[in-house]
Symmetry: C2
Amino acid sequence: MAKDISIQVIRRLPRYYRFLRELENSGVEKISSNKLASIMSSTASQVRQDLNCFGGFGQQGYGYPVAQLRSEIGTILGLNVMHNAILLGAGNLGRAVATHLNFDTMGFRLTAIFEKDKRLIGTMLTAITVKSDDEIEEYVQNHPVDTAFLTLPRASVEAVVDKLYQLGIRNFWNFSHYDIARKYPDTIVENVHLSDSLMTLCYRINEKDINNK
Amino acid sequence: MAKDISIQVIRRLPRYYRFLRELENSGVEKISSNKLASIMSSTASQVRQDLNCFGGFGQQGYGYPVAQLRSEIGTILGLNVMHNAILLGAGNLGRAVATHLNFDTMGFRLTAIFEKDKRLIGTMLTAITVKSDDEIEEYVQNHPVDTAFLTLPRASVEAVVDKLYQLGIRNFWNFSHYDIARKYPDTIVENVHLSDSLMTLCYRINEKDINNK
């Protein structure tokens, strides 16, 4: 695998993957860099440059084979290597995350869900029975888990992360504003900051309104 | 307001805003660019450069006044200009979005929630009664709404967006994979692609595992 690929290119790969999967599902077999660029709201030269980072797929002038390209990008992303993950927090956000995503197509197997609220413990979420967060330690010690999805309220996150870190978990998908990597620099953290996205929307609306005046 | 600020800088502003608000809430009055850079996982020169885009806050060597900087970034983002928004989809994701975010601190007033599932119509979500999506047209025609938050299943999104566009709505916060801007280039769309974030996490975990071998 090519090394030293910039994080900017990496962050575009999931989009390529998504669009290619849609094309594949619609029965499209080949796609030109021009067409792919248009779907990606990018340029053909950007697309060619991105895909060349990984050794160049397809043949110039013949278009890219959709299924093969999708599969190779999936391999680069490592989607076929399964990581066992637990979900912390079975409130609205946890329920949304657990039900909306096909984890196994994205490299993760969701194996357990933990929650503090007694009313939710014992309920089913997808095909998993929600456990009490008192059981986290025992569970992680006895099962191979390397990743935690955090859909907890901000106030509960820090203590839970401390515990998970002590138990050896280093990979976090974090929906809270708590900055895990600052306290634990050897972790891998992807943050989802919904409020940042919303504030950016606000800015772009206002900027358009100002320019239209 | 300064013009031609790159979208990269804009996308960093919500993070500045969030961190500054936390500092302000903790009673911090001044902060140096070094300290702010460390919180932002950035460099002091990047921080100074970003803030200079907007005409330069604070005085060199004295640090930035936290409350003033937070407030000025809020003004740049337009968080004090209220936009009326409706939420489409009161399922798990819609419930999470409606309950987890303080919209009014981020420039939006959530005024109505619509849902197709009859079991959810009439239930309360935050302080809003969920309406039937049959009522969208009448509601938007009779209320000032300029933004839609879309937490609908992928299969329902396209038809709803067509309807909202015809009703004059041009701003979308979109949680589905449906590409609104491709069909309607004059819209402003912020997409939240949870799966892209998860696939990026997968890549980073595998890359670390490979490098550790």
